[in-house]
């Protein structure tokens, strides 16, 4: 098969689709492939699914051309200095959501997929970094934008314990409110409030070291123990701690089980591949509490399944290795 999904027939283009069109138009032989919309079937058991009007591709990260000659043509004009300048149409960008196609917009959108009701509002909505990769196709750009957001203090990145690579992204405001609510009336409330007030705004890292806590921020050992008891810090190494979300254990349990369940749905299929639309149309197994869409974003972004664009839509296939 030659190239990725055909350009959408809508005339009003957002910035994301502009890029896609630029790339597609430079590829020869695209010709008259019929317009094909990726229709997103909402699973009836998936109450949180919302069809975003942002783009008609729920998984734009899958749009990657597999054709070597396209890549050649793309880099060669750049190398030889021939640049095609495309006039950008008027781009409406909501300053709160960020530009379409940016990490900020992806994070806002994915936050809406998180099932708040499942945790009785005790957990802030958590989004994974791999899910952002499924919406923003260029990973380096996504990483850099997330880093900027982290430096500005809008989001916190948290190490989720099950995989050293999996980072959870939480809005700082949500994190603060939930943590304060969770530690209300408990003996460690004082230490937690001091931590939220002094350390969180100052240090945007994932982890904290012993001397940083004691000298720079003036925490005593007993206060650090309080923080670990409260669930705000988890032990990483002797003298260093990861930032954590209190009560995230349940989320991690559901997440790991759900991820395995969705992967096994693909594994049990014939030839170990499933059309995305078919997967999302199936009944979610009972184990999947966070929603099929949530898990599919994560699987695609973490490259646990290969995304292949076919004429019937995106196909998810388990990698051979």
């Amino acid at each position: 098969m030659l190239v990725c999904a055909s350009p959408p027939p809508l005339p009003a283009l957002t910035g994301l689709r502009d890029d896609k069109l630029t790339l597609l138009s430079s590829s020869p032989g695209l010709g008259g492939t019929p317009g094909e919309t990726v229709r997103h079937c909402s699973a009836p058991e998936d109450p949180i699914f919302r069809f975003s009007s942002l783009h008609s591709y729920p998984f734009p990260g899958t749009i990657k051309s597999r054709d070597m000659s396209w890549k050649r043509h793309h880099l060669i004009p750049e190398t030889f200095g021939v640049k095609r300048r495309r006039k950008r149409g008027p781009v409406e960008s909501d300053p709160l959501r960020g530009e379409p196609g940016s990490a900020r917009a992806a994070v806002s959108e994915l936050m809406q997929l998180f099932p708040r009701g499942l945790f009785e509002d005790a957990l802030p909505p958590i989004v994974l970094r791999s899910q952002v990769y499924s919406l923003v196709p260029d990973r380096t750009v996504a990483d850099r934008q997330l880093k900027e957001l982290q430096e500005q203090g809008e989001i916190r990145i948290v190490q989720l314990g099950f995989d050293l690579d999996a980072h959870g992204i939480i809005f700082t405001e949500d994190y603060r409110t939930r943590v304060l609510k969770a530690c209300d009336g408990r003996p460690y409330a004082g230490a937690v409030q001091k931590f939220l007030a002094s350390v969180l705004p100052a240090c945007g890292d994932l982890s904290f070291q012993q001397d940083q806590m004691t000298q720079t921020f003036g925490f005593r050992d007993s206060e650090i123990t309080h923080l670990v008891n409260a669930g705000v810090l988890t032990v990483r190494d002797a003298g260093s701690w990861w930032l954590a979300v209190p009560g995230a254990g349940r989320f991690i349990k559901y997440f790991v089980k759900g991820r395995q369940a969705v992967l096994s749905m693909v594994r049990k299929a014939k030839y170990r591949e499933l059309l995305l639309s078919e997967l999302l149309g199936r009944r979610a197994p009972v184990v999947v509490r966070l929603g099929l869409t949530y898990h599919v974003h994560d699987l695609i972004g973490a490259q646990l399944v290969d995304c292949i664009s076919t004429t019937s839509g995106t196909l998810l296939r388990l990698p051979e290795t």
Partner: protein, 396 residues
């Protein structure tokens, strides 16, 4: 391309631009070519390849059977079909051959009169190329995973050796003994590499997930431990900093020495700024890495956007270094690819794998224009393949 040539001719543009543009175009067109072959000598998997930096003509290969072979890459025949022949080899019948598998070979950086090889038999041997005798042998207590000699240094002849022990040893070729030990790692050292920019800067990668940068003149220890999260550097204790979430298998400096690439068994490749140890956060996606020992990958040299060639299972994945996008996967080997080297003069890639083959990836050229000369085309056709039938009705 013609525009570039005329611009260069009239002096409107720097000649280097044309060279870089053409090199990039050739690297983007790398593929297997039926006309280019490397003679198959090894009976075991090929662990390491090295092309001499002076002329780019001779290539050394070391295999898991302990055999070291020297190939001549230059095509001096007038035909397009060419097999790179082995000039000489240190085979199993050689008295000084390594007893176990050869893990790393490296040419002496300044001329082809000497090369070094290190092996699982706990030795580092220095060979004289012309007589194929060992000039010197360094013995260690543990198996040697990797060694490297500085490609730019004129002030010292130190060879950095990474073994199964946590200490990096520096052997001096002039004096014939180990002059230095660098302490700091906690587990085996899987890869070592000198910086191509500064004489005394060394990078080491270990199975304890850490990559350390050293200045070997400094007595007090390593300069930086690379931290993948780019945490605050003011920590007095850097013990928690890890470069990868698994063993760090391979190290490669870019050709200008300003950046360092590392691969780890957490299936990630990271690009670091080598002057301050900062993770540039370029994301290459999943780079499958199951190797229990070192993985030898390489970076292109002389292109406008540099490419990195990483062995990925039985294929070689090609990425642009600074933007992280995957260009292609070069498929051709039957088993796991262990090593690859780039010949920057002709933009060719040679890769060695466990299926005992070395494959040459050559930029695909334009199709040759068919000759108008009838006689030459006729003579090239083997009489066995000539058609015996005729379309005329009279002859049967």
């Amino acid at each position: 391309m013609l525009g570039f040539l005329s611009a260069r001719q009239t002096g409107l543009e720097d000649p280097l631009r044309l060279r870089r543009a053409e090199s990039t175009r050739r690297v983007l067109g790398l593929e297997l070519n039926k006309d280019r072959d490397v003679e198959r000598i090894h009976g075991g998997g090929i662990n390491t390849l090295d092309i001499e930096p002076v002329e780019g003509r001779y290539m050394l290969s070391g295999g898991s059977d302990g055999v070291i072979v020297l190939y001549d890459l230059e095509n001096s025949s007038r035909q397009s079909y060419y097999t790179c022949k082995a000039v000489c080899s240190i085979g199993r019948d050689h008295p000084d051959v390594h007893r176990y598998s050869v893990e790393t070979v490296q040419w002496y950086p300044h001329d082809t009169g000497m090369f070094t090889s290190s092996s699982f038999d706990k030795t580092l041997k220095v060979w004289d190329t012309n007589t194929l005798q060992t000039a010197d042998v360094f013995n260690f207590e543990e198996t040697v995973y990797s060694h490297h000699m500085s490609p730019v240094s004129t002030k010292h002849c130190l060879v950095a050796v990474g073994t199964r022990g946590p200490k990096v040893q520096l052997c001096d070729l002039k004096s014939g003994s180990c002059s230095h030990i660098l302490q700091g790692h906690r587990q085996e050292i899987l890869a070592v590499s000198w910086s191509p920019r500064y004489d005394y800067i060394l990078a080491t990668a270990s199975a304890d997930s850490r990559v350390k940068l050293w200045d070997v003149r400094r007595a007090s220890g390593y300069l930086i431990t690379l931290d993948q999260h780019n945490g605050k550097k003011s920590q007095a204790v850097e013990s928690a900093n890890t470069a990868h979430n698994g063993k760090v298998n391979g190290l490669c400096f870019t050709s200008d020495g300003l950046h360092l690439l590392t691969v780890g068994t957490d299936n990630r490749m990271r690009l670091w700024n080598s002057s301050n140890g900062e993770n540039t956060l370029v994301n290459y996606g999943k780079v499958c890495n199951n190797s229990k020992k070192g993985l030898k990958f390489t970076v292109s040299c002389g292109c406008s956007s540099e490419f990195v060639f990483v062995p990925y299972g039985s294929t070689i994945a090609v990425y642009t270094v600074y933007s992280g996008e995957q260009i292609t996967m070069l498929k051709g080997h039957y088993k796991t690819v262990d090593c690859c080297v780039f010949q920057s003069n002709f933009q060719e890639l040679y890769s060695g794998s466990r299926d005992c083959n070395i494959l040459a990836w050559v930029p695909s050229l334009y199709e040759p224009v068919p000759d108008d000369d009838e006689t030459t085309t006729k003579s090239q056709l083997n009489p066995a393949f000539e058609d015996a039938w005729s379309s005329s009705d009279e002859e049967g």
